[in-house]
């Protein structure tokens, strides 16, 4: 089992550790719900060093951007300046989702991709295969030398800046100050006097403001301790899951995988159709998958449980006595104090013309063989720390 550079910090903080994609990771440090609430109200830190950071450095040929425009369903041309980032899916030829990722442009023609832990090997194989097919001179660099921390919550940036200042050399104070001026979905690199780099991005997976920070692994424990001193609370993968689900952010492997495409996964906004001549992998299949109205039959929807119980993955969704789909991930929402879920339904099975008509239907979810009343809702469930339902 692999451990992150922060393993000892987790043990010291009283973490309950579990196996996650071959890594020993903290699931909580006592109470998942308190950690969840701390993120909505103040600031928490997640160790996400199990995620894979890969770089595509500038080869001087101006080829990396064009490569990613083919590799990704979203268009990296939207990352207009160095520092800008985009969220995208990486698709198979048939449109099935290999993984979802954030692509950060960190130089004129250099990009950093952060991909999921559970998909690491197939992602790296796929990217290398595409690089070889495109005959690029740039090489994929897997950054296993970095630790990755996510500091999230309304107070996250302020406290992370404070912690960074206590750990880093005074000569980088100006660079640290720049973190506070960063736009959402952008990033900066802090260059330390000893040559080390800290990569700081205003991104996350909780629906709150915050930062994701990639830094040399040897510096991670000191930074972790500085964050705790600044009042940031450690949070585990349990809270990370309830936070992302309230924010209706998909979990790869649950809400989407190789058998579905982005149009069927509530993230059609991440597919960039313009310019028409951009022939990204999967484009033709995605176009062909839509019906005459431009919709996919399968749609990812939000659900709220009206009756008692907890929604969980794979529970059948029923309308007028017929199964029309199933829950892809469900949980108890600490913010709403009721159960929420994402689920995939078929428009055809529902007998509606467009996805917008789904919200008007009454539905039930089968929990342990009993139909329990539920309601279709438009996700997300929580925004800026406030319940929307």
């Amino acid at each position: 089992m692999k451990t992150t550079p922060l393993y000892q910090c987790h043990v010291d903080a009283g973490a309950k550790l579990v196996d996650f994609a071959g890594w020993q990771m903290p699931v909580n440090y006592g109470s998942q719900i308190s950690e969840h609430n701390a993120c909505r109200e103040q600031a928490v830190i997640f160790d996400v060093s199990h995620m894979t950071v890969v770089d595509l450095p500038d080869s001087g040929e101006g080829e990396v951007k064009a490569f990613l425009q083919k590799l990704l369903a979203n268009d990296v041309a939207k990352a207009k300046s160095p520092g800008d980032a985009i969220y995208s899916c990486m698709l198979q030829d048939d449109g099935g989702i290999i993984d979802d990722l954030i692509a950060y442009r960190y130089g004129a023609d250099s990009y950093r991709l952060i991909v999921n832990a559970g998909t690491r090997d197939k992602d790296i194989d796929w990217i290398k295969k595409q690089l070889a097919a495109s005959k690029l001179s740039t090489e994929l660099v897997v950054r296993d030398d970095l630790a990755l921390l996510a500091v999230q919550g309304p107070q996250a940036i302020k406290r992370a800046v404070e912690a960074t200042s206590t750990v880093c050399d005074a000569s980088v104070a100006e660079q640290i100050a720049a973190i506070q001026k960063m736009k959402r979905f952008s990033s900066v690199s802090l260059s330390m006097p000893d040559g080390d780099e800290w990569f700081v991005a205003r991104t996350g997976y909780t629906g709150e403001d915050g930062l994701e920070i990639a830094l040399p692994e040897k510096q991670a424990p000191a930074f972790w301790k500085a964050l705790l001193s600044a009042g940031v609370v450690p949070a585990g993968l349990g809270a990370r899951d309830t936070l992302r689900l309230e924010a209706a952010m998909n979990l790869y492997g649950s809400d989407m995988d190789e058998t579905v495409n982005p149009l069927e996964s509530g993230i059609s906004w991440t597919v960039s159709w313009q310019p028409e001549e951009r022939d990204f992998i999967g484009r033709k299949s995605l176009q062909a998958s839509r019906n005459a109205d431009g919709n996919s039959d399968r749609q990812l929807v939000g659900l709220l449980l009206e009756g008692r119980g907890v929604l969980r993955g794979h529970q059948p969704i029923q309308v007028a006595g017929h199964v029309v789909g199933e829950i892809t991930s469900g949980t108890f929402s600490p913010t709403l104090q009721k159960s929420i879920a994402l689920g995939r339904v078929s428009i055809q099975a529902l007998g509606v013309e467009s996805p917008a008509d789904i919200l008007a239907l009454e539905c039930e979810v089968i929990i342990r063989d009993k139909p329990i009343a539920a309601r279709f809702v438009k996700p997300p469930f929580v925004a800026k720390g406030q319940p929307l339902y």
């Binding site: 909580n28 109470s31 998942q32 719900i33 349990g238 899951d241 600490p334 342990r368």
Partner: protein, 128 residues
């Protein structure tokens, strides 16, 4: 943490208290609630349900997962803990007292005596 010595236990982490009136009260152990994490929903059995030993008759759901709760012995459900409807977290904060799940009338009063005692259960959690 030491286990209450007056209770009987199951390998599936339920505890059983023998009441003076011949009924038994069932709940889940401190170890079980800690493993489950924050409990957010408890599905208690129906009163008057007749059940066999080892039958799954209740469900405790934490934020992360649902766990079946088994009947320790054959009998009839006579009461369920109504407080858990609004306060499922009692299972976490007071697993042996306020967080009890249900009471049953045993079919055979001697069956409960044969269940594991605290020492037996201690060795179960030590090897978990």
């Amino acid at each position: 943490m030491s286990l209450p010595s007056d209770l009987r236990y199951l390998e599936s982490h339920e505890w059983v208290r023998m009441n003076d009136d011949g009924t038994v009260t069932v709940g889940i152990t401190e170890f079980a609630q800690e493993q489950l994490g924050d409990v957010v929903f408890v599905e208690t059995p129906e009163v008057d349900l007749q059940c066999e030993a080892q039958q799954a008759i209740a469900v405790v759901e934490s934020v992360k997962a649902a766990s079946d709760i088994y009947a320790p012995i054959a009998g009839t459900i006579i009461e369920v803990n109504a407080d858990l409807g609004d306060q499922p977290e009692l299972v976490n904060s007071s697993p042996y007292e306020q967080g009890w799940l249900y009471k049953m009338q045993p079919t055979d009063g001697t069956e409960v005596e044969a269940l594991m005692d605290a020492d037996g259960y201690q060795s179960v959690i030590d090897s978990a």
